[in-house]
């Protein structure tokens, strides 16, 4: 029930925020804050849940905090199945946390239709939470698509100069790949039904069926494409820089922080466990794509003059690590992938907030026109320094733990790819520090339009958003054990599921 209530809270909070706009322009954002608080309290109760449910997942036992299953469309065996385990709980917590950050980051950026803005924000969150807890494939697809529309509107209405193009590109990429996944889902369900099982979309019942080798390969590809587009991995990443550059700050925060993670989550939850053999067959290709994403993303990030585009390409690079980690499929590398998802969510969200703050003040994202901002905004400079350091993988911060574990786990599987992936750490330092230097250090800008602007430092509202993220990143960097305690049982059972095929994993990728 708690998960259903959380999702409903977000949906209803969005509607209230929209309808209240007619009376008061300031109230909608407070409604959003309230909605997020209620949702967070609901989710927090799960951490203290004394009892956990054991469910069998294709012969492997798995523990769940809560499972809710209501028949929905019995004709197709579709149920309203929400279930939450450690992995989902971690992702949902990240979602709500970044939800707060998104509201704070857009606090006085939006003066046009603030209620409708908050409505879209809340509905995006609701869709993402739904994606993380839905374990009926129809319901999963339902939420997968639901989160796109409000995000489309966020970019299309409140975006920057080239918003129509960017919003359309974002929607087309994700929607078309989603449709391919829908075909794969239906083929999986009807294929499983062909083996004598009653028609069902339930994750638990679909697990562990033997379909023909050819069929399961194509089905796996259907899922893989949808998730890799969302991740985004090379060569499907081209929508991301455009979407990020044009999106308003809050939308960028959500996009980088959580929407990309739904792709990684889908790979871990669905692609590999549902089709272990077929996934093992393409593990080599997938890891190569990951390595290319890492290097290629980093190179392109280095070449950018637009601050937001730089951060966007750095996301491609960092999410490439996740792809490598998931398809190396060792316990260490999956743990690393999850950690990387959390750390990247936090650090990139913060970097987009900084980019948004710069644009809000200077009305440009062009780094060549900036410079020497540290003098006028020391707090902002220090915060930016912290997050750039974090994102380039400094030991002691979250991103390092993730990347290190991924490389450690992947090394035993494929040495060449791991070595190439490691290059990402070096190039990451290069583009990160270049950005820092261009924007915050060096000579003050001589551009007449910019030097005339009185530059305000981060105020208390912005620091209130930044400090929790700094604390969180440092905490998981120094003491990541609580995160592992949360997700380890889940990853262990998913790993055990595919254990029969693990020899292939190593064989296929070497």
């Amino acid at each position: 029930m708690i998960m259903l209530l959380t999702i409903l809270t977000l949906f209803i909070g969005g509607l209230v925020a929209w309808s209240i706009e007619a009376w008061n322009k300031d109230l909608p954002r407070w409604i959003s804050v309230g909605t997020c608080i209620i949702a967070s309290i609901l989710i927090a109760t799960l951490y203290f849940q004394p009892t956990q449910q054991e469910l069998m997942l294709a012969g492997v036992s798995s523990t769940w905090y809560e499972v809710l299953s209501i028949p929905w469309i019995p004709r197709f065996g579709i149920g309203f199945v929400l279930a939450i385990d450690g992995l989902s709980l971690l992702m949902v917590s990240l979602t709500l946390f970044l939800g707060f950050i998104a509201i704070l980051s857009s606090w006085d950026e939006i003066d046009r239709r603030p209620g409708f803005f908050q409505f879209n924000l809340m509905w995006t969150l609701a869709g993402v939470v739904g994606v993380f807890v839905a374990l009926d494939l129809f319901l999963f697809f339902f939420f997968w698509e639901v989160m796109l529309i409000p995000m489309y509107l966020l970019i299309a209405i409140w975006g920057h100069e080239n918003k129509a193009y960017a919003a359309m590109k974002f929607f087309l990429f994700t929607q078309v790949s989603g449709l391919i996944m829908l075909v794969a889902i239906l083929a999986l369900v009807l294929g499983v039904a062909g083996t004598g099982v009653p028609l069902t979309f339930n994750y638990f019942d679909l697990m562990g069926h033997q379909l023909g080798e050819g069929l399961s390969f194509w089905l796996m590809c259907g899922f893989f494409v949808a998730f890799v587009v969302k991740l985004p991995g090379f060569p499907f990443h081209t929508w991301l820089p455009d979407a990020h550059t044009q999106a308003p700050t809050a939308a960028s925060v959500l996009l980088a922080g959580i929407l990309l993670k739904t792709g990684a989550y889908g790979l871990i939850r669905f692609t590999v466990p549902l089709f272990p053999e077929a996934a093992a067959d393409i593990a080599g290709v997938a890891m190569t794509l990951g390595a290319i994403s890492i290097v290629y993303g980093a190179l392109l990030a280095f070449a950018q003059t637009d601050f937001k585009r730089l951060v966007a390409y750095s996301s491609v690079s960092h999410m490439g690590f996740v792809l490598v980690g998931v398809f190396a499929w060792t316990e260490l590398s999956i743990q690393g992938s999850v950690m990387q998802m959390v750390a990247h969510g936090l650090s990139t969200a913060a970097l987009f907030m900084i980019a948004g703050a710069l644009q809000h003040r200077l009305h440009t994202r062009d780094m060549t026109r900036m410079g020497g901002i540290w003098h006028s905004a020391p707090r902002m400079g220090a915060v930016a320094m912290f997050f750039i350091i974090a994102s380039l993988g400094m030991p002691g911060l979250g991103n390092f733990v993730g990347e290190f574990l991924i490389l450690l786990g992947a090394f035993s599987i494929n040495k060449t790819i791991t070595v190439i992936a490691t290059m990402g750490l070096i190039t990451g330092a290069v583009y990160g520090l270049i950005a820092m230097q261009r924007v915050f250090q060096g000579q003050k800008s001589s551009d007449p339009e910019i030097s005339g602007i009185k530059f305000g430092d981060f105020g208390s509202r912005e620091m209130a958003a930044m400090i929790p993220m700094i604390i969180a990143l440092t905490w998981i960097g120094v003491y990541p054990q609580p995160v592992f305690d949360l997700v380890d049982p889940v990853l262990a059972s998913l790993y055990e599921l595919t254990l029969g095929t693990s020899s292939q994993w190593i064989g296929a990728s070497q």
């Binding site: 299309a156 919003a167 359309m168 929607q175």
Partner: protein, 484 residues
């Protein structure tokens, strides 16, 4: 003919009686509100009688022409309900367009009668009777309220092409009659078994000609040329009727014909339908990209949607997927009805104050989100449903189409569906995007009450059934089961 037969015919009798009543009332007192009220009462009581007959009468033939069963109940219910919504929208649309608008409503009821006849038809005679009733009323409706040239051009175009296509159907039926000696669908099937090769060719050519004629009426590629011009020239309510009631009735009859006659046994026909489906999807979507008028966009998108419908229709040719495919076609048509009436309803409401042609340039809709948030939200919901996005009925419809294609393993058709939907998104989103942009023009748009409520109900149904389609799914699935 006994009392039970008369009871089974009750919906048709009530509908016909109310048409005569409305005609008499118009002869004595011209009052649009009164005409519309009578029309709605007539259609609503027809709907009730359909429900009553459907729940209590046994299914069976009433005369060799009319077949009353679960299938006809479903389709005639859908058609009459659509008639009610269109008449409500028409009232708002016609109200400000001067004198003598009452006959439009009369024609609307007549074409509804024709479509209901089509849904009941199990014989070529009733099939052609219904077809012509729909067609002839539409000729007049298309050129009716606006006295501009576009309407006349559209009506003339439709008149000629529809006449030709009817001739095709008649000739095809005659060819089959020459060999088989009967025009009843089920008897044709049994006597078709015992024919020699030459006579098989007669049947094949006859079926092909019937299909070509129906292809015109359903505006499938390559018989689609008339669609955009007629859609554009006709007044929005007439377009809505043409796109839903007329096409829905004809499709119901087509599906019944193919299932009773087992038209799928002819590989040549199934294969050409396969290509018709692909071409309709691809050409409809690609040409829709190049339009700047909403009605033309919707015209091409309806070509593409009929293409999706044909995917399910072709899927029924594979035995293992037959039931799912029939279900999918019926459900998709159901979703298409609600969405299409809603979309044209918005155009009608937008143009209800203007005297000339409809307001259907995309630029008329700029900034609608800020001028008329509710109307814009309704329109977006309809467009998203056409694009097949979740939370709307269109998503469940597309889900069904994909499921039918997967079950029958027609992968090439599915590729066309995926590509077509991708292209489709582009032009639907373009309209939604232009509704979100800002304009300086603050020209007020009044939403008339009747049309507004009709639209609101459609939007509510669209979302409610999109989230909780269970009852409709169960109903459709039981009907499909009864058809095998």
């Amino acid at each position: 003919m006994n009392t039970l037969d008369l009871f089974a015919l009750l919906p048709l009798i009530i509908l016909t009686t109310s048409i005569i009543l409305v005609m008499l009332v118009i002869a004595f007192a011209r009052n649009l509100a009164l005409t519309c009220l009578l029309c709605c009462i007539g259609l609503a009581s027809t709907l009730l009688s359909i429900a009553w007959v459907g729940s209590s009468a046994d299914s069976g033939y009433v005369t060799p022409l009319i077949l009353v069963d679960a299938y006809s109940t479903l389709f005639s219910g859908l058609i009459v309900a659509a008639g009610i919504f269109i008449s409500l929208i028409s009232y708002s649309y016609l109200k400000h367009r001067g004198e003598n608008q009452d006959e439009f409503i009369l024609l609307l009821m007549l074409s509804t009668l024709g479509a209901v006849t089509l849904a009941h038809s199990a014989h070529f005679v009733s099939f052609i009777l219904g077809l012509e009733l729909v067609g002839v009323s539409l000729y007049a409706m298309i050129s009716y309220p606006s006295k501009g040239l576009f309407g006349l051009e559209a009506a003339l175009k439709y008149l000629i092409l529809s006449g030709v296509s009817s001739a095709f159907i008649l000739f095809g039926a005659a060819l089959m009659f020459a060999v088989l000696g009967t025009l009843s669908f089920s008897e044709m099937a049994s006597s078709a078994q015992a024919q020699s090769t030459i006579e098989h060719w007669f049947i094949l050519i006859g079926t092909t000609m019937v299909l070509a004629g129906i292809g015109f009426k359903l505006s499938l590629v390559p018989f689609h040329m008339w669609t955009p011009d007629v859609y554009e020239g006709a007044p929005a309510p007439a377009t809505a009727l043409l796109a839903t009631i007329s096409k829905g009735g004809i499709f119901a009859a087509l599906l019944r014909f193919f299932l009773s006659f087992d038209g799928y046994q002819y590989n040549l026909i199934t294969e050409s339908l396969f290509w018709i489906a692909i071409l309709s999807i691809v050409i409809g979507n690609v040409l829709a990209l190049m339009q700047t008028k909403i009605k033309r966009v919707l015209a091409y998108s309806s070509i593409a949607h009929l293409g999706y419908l044909m995917v399910a229709f072709v899927s029924a040719s594979i035995l293992s997927g037959k039931q799912l495919a029939i279900e999918a076609s019926i459900f998709f048509l159901f979703a298409y009805f609600i969405t299409t009436i809603g979309a044209f309803g918005v155009v009608a409401i937008m143009s209800c104050e203007s005297q000339g042609s409809d307001k259907d340039e995309i630029s008329h809709y700029q900034g609608l989100f800020w001028r008329r948030p509710l109307l814009a939200a309704f329109f977006s919901a309809m467009l998203l449903s056409l694009a097949g996005i979740p939370l709307t009925l269109g998503f469940v419809g597309k889900f069904y189409i994909v499921a039918a294609g997967v079950e029958s393993e027609l992968w090439a058709l599915l590729v066309a569906v995926v590509i077509g939907s991708g292209i489709g998104l582009f032009y639907y989103l373009r309209i939604i995007f232009s509704m979100t942009t800002h304009t300086d023009s603050d020209e007020p748009i009044a939403i008339p009450a009747t049309g507004g409520w009709a639209l609101g109900t459609l939007a509510f149904l669209l979302v409610y059934l999109g989230v909780y389609p269970t009852q409709v799914v169960d109903w459709v699935s039981s009907v499909a089961k009864s058809m095998i």
